[in-house]
Structure formats: C-alpha cells, structure tokens
Amino acid sequence: MAEKKKKLLQGNEACAEGALYAGCRFYAGYPITPSTEIAEHLSVRLPKVGGKFIQMEDEIASIAAITGASLTGLKSMTATSGPGFSLKQEGIGFACMAEVPCVIVNVMRGGPSTGFPTGPSQSDVMQAKWGTHGDHPVVAVAPAYVQEILSETVRAFNLAEKYRTPVMVLYDEIVGHMREPIVLPEKGELEVIDRIKPTCNSEEYFPYDDKYEIAPLAAYGEGYRFHVTGLNHKKDGFPTNDAKLIQEGNERILRKIENHKNDIWKNEELELNDAKIVVFAYGSTARSARYAVKEAGNSGKKVGLLRPLTLWPFPEKAVEELAKRVKVIIVPEMNMGQMIVEVERYARGKCEMKNPDSQAAGILLGKEFYYLPPHQNLWCGGLHSSPVKEVLRRPRSKERGLRRAFRSRWEVYNVNSSCSKKR
C-alpha cells in the first residue's frame, strides 16, 4: 500500500532519516536554530538502532567528536547553522587533512553573525567552499525538497565514505522546517556505500597509502595501530617537513575529488534543450525557479533550468557548456551573490550574465520569486508595467521569513529577444 510508506516529514526529520538509512551511527551536535530538529530526532532514533547521540558543549567539540567517532569505524554526522558552521571550520579542515569521512549539515539561516536566526538564507554556500584555512577538498550537496533531503543525505554519506572526506549538506530554513509527504525508501532501494577497510596485515597498512587513490581506512581498535594528524604527513600518517611530500599530500587530497567530479556532480536539467535563457538555481530558490520555468514553458517561452544538487565541486562543465550556447544565465540566490562568482567565472564571457546594475525593462527574478504571487512572477514583463512596479515599490512586509536578502540589487535583466508579452 502506497499509503503505508508515505509520511509527512519535516525537512530536518528527513535529514535525520536519511542519515539513519545511510547507516549513520554517531551524532554529536549543539543546538542551533533552524537545524535543531535533526539532533532532536536523532536523539530519539539513534539509540533505537544502537547508535550514539551526544549533545556536546559546543560546535567545535561536536565536529571533533564525530571525527573521533568516525575513526572507530562509525558513520558520523553533525548538524548546525551559520554561527556553528563558522565555529566548526577548523575541525572541518582537520577532517579534510586527516581524510576522515563525516557529514556536516548546515541548515542556512540569515547572516552575517547572529543575523536573523529564524529566517532562511543561502548565504553560507561560499563559506562551505572556503571557510577553513588552507587548500582543501570540498564536497557539498544542496537538496531542495524534503524527499531530496533524505536522498541527498544518503548520498552525502556515500560520498564521504567513498572519498574519505567530509561532505556538507546545505539547505535553508525553508526546506528544513517545511513538511512534505515523502516515501521512506526500503532497504536496498537507495545505494549505500560503506568505507573500504584494509585487508592487508597491519605491518603493510598505511592509512594514506598513495598506491590507492583513496586508501582504505582501518578502524581504531582492530589491530591496525595507525597514526592520524592534522600536520602534513607521509603515507604512514606521520608528520613530515619534506616539501615534496607535503606538496604531494596536499595535491592528493584535492585530486581525489578533482578526478572524480563526474561521479560527484549531479544536476537537474529542465528544458535546457533549446533555451536561450537559463536559470542557475539551487536549494529552495530553485523551487521557485522550477515553477517559473514551467510557467514560462506553458506560455510558450524557452526558459531552462540548471539545478545543481552538487554545489561543490562546482558544476563547471555544465556551466561552461551552457554558456556557449545560451544567451543569458540568471542566478537567483537567497544571498547577495555567491555562486554567481563561479557561474561568471565559467561562463568565461561566452554568454550574457545578469548585470545587477541594469535597471532596464526585463526579466524579474530572484527576490521577486518570493515577493510575487506566482501569477505575477513574470518571465517577461516590463519593469515599468504595473504588477512588477507595484511589487518593487512596496514589498509586502509580513512574510518575513521569505523576504530576506537575496541579491543586493534588482534582479532585472534585459532580454529583448525573448520578451514577447508586455504588461
């Protein structure tokens, strides 16, 4: 019976369920809005399957604890939001360097600083890439639907275990707190990847053995008495001052992701075939974009959507190719412009990019996705035409959760070519 499997879950609950499905058996965290429900759910659910939940003294201790736990062989996770994510940065770098699989969820809220704790945002996506010091590999997924939060959390664990690296799950308060019916996958329905353990005898075991692309990872207490450090190290895990080995080590941890981008990338593509206008959007902003793209299609306009589910590594290939054949890429974000840095970079000037300074008549995007009731969310409409103008003049101020900072200036782009209707 379909009814049996369908459940109405909150995004954060779906995240917790995804973790359990993936085999997570250790969670350490510190409460913070709007991520706390993940911890609350796991505090109840984990012990039922023999897993461990601990509320640590802070976020720094939490990332530390999951890293320690992961080294004993347990799949581990922590979840937080902006301020906690900032605090975890040093620990994330350690996990990158020591190549310890773990999953870090950031349910994004309004920043900077304490900001707007109960409001959504997408303003930590660049931090996910650059937040910790030093060059380091970054993998981050960005689900947009409750069902997807579950499946992307599973994928995050898979990538973490497969590539021996921390993986981030980034979504915002909107999807985190929203409830949608989802189907809990049965065992075997979604792929679950476990880390590869060594089979050699302990004398031959090197935790960073460069004869593998990703070396098997033993668990503490099982006879492989290996060393783990955040210092640059050799294949045996012990520190080195040798410049060549340092360089090689640093390159290796980057390369293991770099070389497998095809495996890690995941995009949803909608109506891309012969679209000249394409929206690049992720997370809950992409839900609006998706809606708008469909609407545009309904009214006979060719508008496409590129929705990356893997934010990092950045879907450079998809963007680069797209840029060569479309006229414009528009990047609505619930922030002041972050992923657009990479989109612009890989567009390489091949297509037009939304010019934030242009206030000419054009397409309305981004902020207006939310500001406008959908029937006014026009794919094409003059800035000076009435519904649009009205909205620009007096954004309704009640729906505060959704009225947060998107891009700093009007999300307006002038694309005469595809502009057919004027109202």
Partner: protein, 182 residues
C-alpha cells in the same frame, strides 16, 4: 495557479494550529494521495503571540512552497485574524471563532463566524479540541480533502485515549459547517 489550494490555520500559541496544519497536510497527502506542503511560522513569534501554519495542496508537484494567495483561512483569535488575513484571495473562505474575532476583516471572500471554542467546551468539555472541530468545519467548507481522509489523519495523530473525543469533535465540525453553509 488554479491547481494550488492554499490554507492557513491561525490562532495563538498552544491552540494547536500547527497540529491542525499537519493533519490537513497528511489528510491530503497520505490519505487523499495529493501533494501537500506544510509550513509554519517560527521565531520569537512562536512564543505567546499569534501562530500560524500553512498548507498547500495540489494535484501537481508543489515547487513554490509558501502561500501566495489564501484559499481558506482559519482564525481562532482576533490578533491572528488581523495579522494574517490580508492574503486571502478573492472568493476565498475565512472561518473565525465568533467569540474571539469581533472585528471581521473586509474583502472579497466569504466569512464564516462560529463559536468554535465554546462549542468545544460546551459540547465536549474540552477547549483543547477546538482545533479539531475547526478542521472538521474547514474540511466541510472547502471540500479540499475527503471526510475519510481527514478522519484517518486526525486519528493517526491523537493519543489512543482521546480517539473518541477527537472523532466526535470532527463530526461536530462537519455538521456545524453544513449548518453554516446553508
């Protein structure tokens, strides 16, 4: 967008508005096999003041997750009503507790005013089930989910000891709504 049906449940913290929203979403999504999205207001607001839950129901996948124009709204307090009523669509429905909401908002929608909380107290001895009575009424008024679905959804969410009470509350809701409708 015609296939979207947007509902808002509002009252004060503790009146079970979020539970009402969840039950409505479950009725639609799980027992009536439609799509549904439920969201709610967070933040300092959740403490004490007005509280609200929103449910969007559609036969299509729901991308845009928030309310854009309310088809049906419930308001159990004056404050909630004043604060949240201004998104009601033309032709929409507003159901208020007549003893609490004295200033009815004006607009191109149908307003049903009914002493929901006192009915709960007088007929069932528990004001706590006012939200369930309201759910029954709104189901009957909007017909957006079936009686069976909402009943299943209610019963799946309430503690075993209170199954009967809630079943009755729902029935009362159906009936009272039929009455006001006529």
């Amino acid at each position: 967008m015609s296939q979207r049906y947007e509902m808002r449940f509002s009252g004060s913290g503790g009146q079970g508005m979020i539970l009402a929203g969840i039950i409505m979403a479950e009725a639609a999504a799980i027992y009536d096999n439609k799509n549904a999205v439920q969201s709610q207001s967070y933040g300092p607001e959740a403490r004490g003041g007005a509280s609200k839950a929103e449910v969007i129901i559609s036969s299509q996948p729901i991308d845009y997750p928030k309310a854009t124009g309310i088809d049906a709204m419930l308001a159990l307090t004056q404050e909630a009503c004043a604060k949240y009523c201004n998104d009601i669509k033309e032709g929409g429905i507003l159901l208020v507790d007549s003893e609490e909401v004295k200033n009815l908002p004006r607009g191109n929608f149908k307003t049903y005013s009914f002493p929901i909380t006192s009915i709960a107290r007088d007929e069932l001895g528990k004001t706590i089930v006012a939200n369930i009575i309201a759910l029954g009424m709104i189901t009957e008024l909007t017909k957006i989910v079936s009686h069976e679905a909402i009943e299943k959804a209610v019963l799946a969410r309430v503690p075993a000891a209170f199954l009967d009470l809630n079943k009755k509350a729902l029935q009362i809701g159906f009936e009272k709504a039929k009455a006001v409708k006529v």
